[in-house]
Subunit: 122 residues, 2 copies
DNA sequence: CAACTATATAGATAAATATCAATATAGCGC
DNA sequence: GCGCTATATTGATATTTATCTATATAGTTG
């Protein structure tokens, strides 16, 4: 009695012997960097957060949350959530002055992403 | 009888009359562009897909799926899924030759993203 | 301290995503 | 057409995410 089902045995009698001429490619993006930059890109990958980055980068100084809110038809907790995502990714930073919190862009990771994309041919 | 519950009526008798000196900021990123570029960024925002972009951009020619697979410990359908996400976002394109499918980078949207990030101060 | 403000957090829920196993599609060689 | 190959699609499931309502935190004013 066969212990291996007949349909799991490969019949290679007619297997073609051609291949796709493999290239040997040396990746330059290691797993750690890929994970780190993918996390920053994920923070950027939402229309509201992109527009927040735009607003922050266009302000002449740090921008108050109460100003940011004006541009979106979203509840205050949702605004707060998006700002937190951006801040935790390192793309922006916050400074509290009394009751108000002011946000501003941190350019470091943005520059890293731009360099990565340049390497992709963009 | 009051129709509005008492705890919803604001007592403004002690409201401070200061504000945070609002800036008027002119956003330059419209909603349509934000949505389009956010979608492309989302496609990029996964470590595996970033590494795929790296591999495709480092190949001397278009890269066969069977070559791409070698770099990841993922099943073939998962590889196929990630390539599809990248292709549907416009970041890469595919060409079939016989049994094999070859992928390559499309630089247009990458360049658009880079320009956006430059505007953010990256 | 009491009333108020600006912002953040918690909790709930609906929608999107990553992955796998199983299956389908379609090209090639005999 | 048959048997094989490379790639794509389907379907299931676990995880993550975006949004809201409700509540908490903490600074300010009087």
């Amino acid at each position: 009695m066969p212990t291996i089902p007949i349909d799991q045995i490969r019949d290679t009698s007619q297997a073609p012997d051609i291949s796709c001429e493999p290239q040997s490619i040396e990746p330059r993006l290691d797993t750690e960097t890929a994970g780190r930059l993918a996390a920053a890109l994920k923070a950027l990958s939402h229309p509201v957060r992109l527009q927040m980055m735009d607003i922050l980068s266009r302000g002449e100084r740090q921008v108050c949350v109460c100003d940011i809110e004006q541009y979106f038809e979203l509840t205050q907790p949702t605004i707060s959530h998006h700002l937190k995502v951006l801040r935790e990714s390192g793309l922006i930073e916050a400074e509290q002055k009394g009751l108000w919190v002011y946000y501003y862009v941190r350019p470091t990771i943005l520059a890293e992403i731009k360099e990565l994309l340049s390497g992709f041919g963009g």
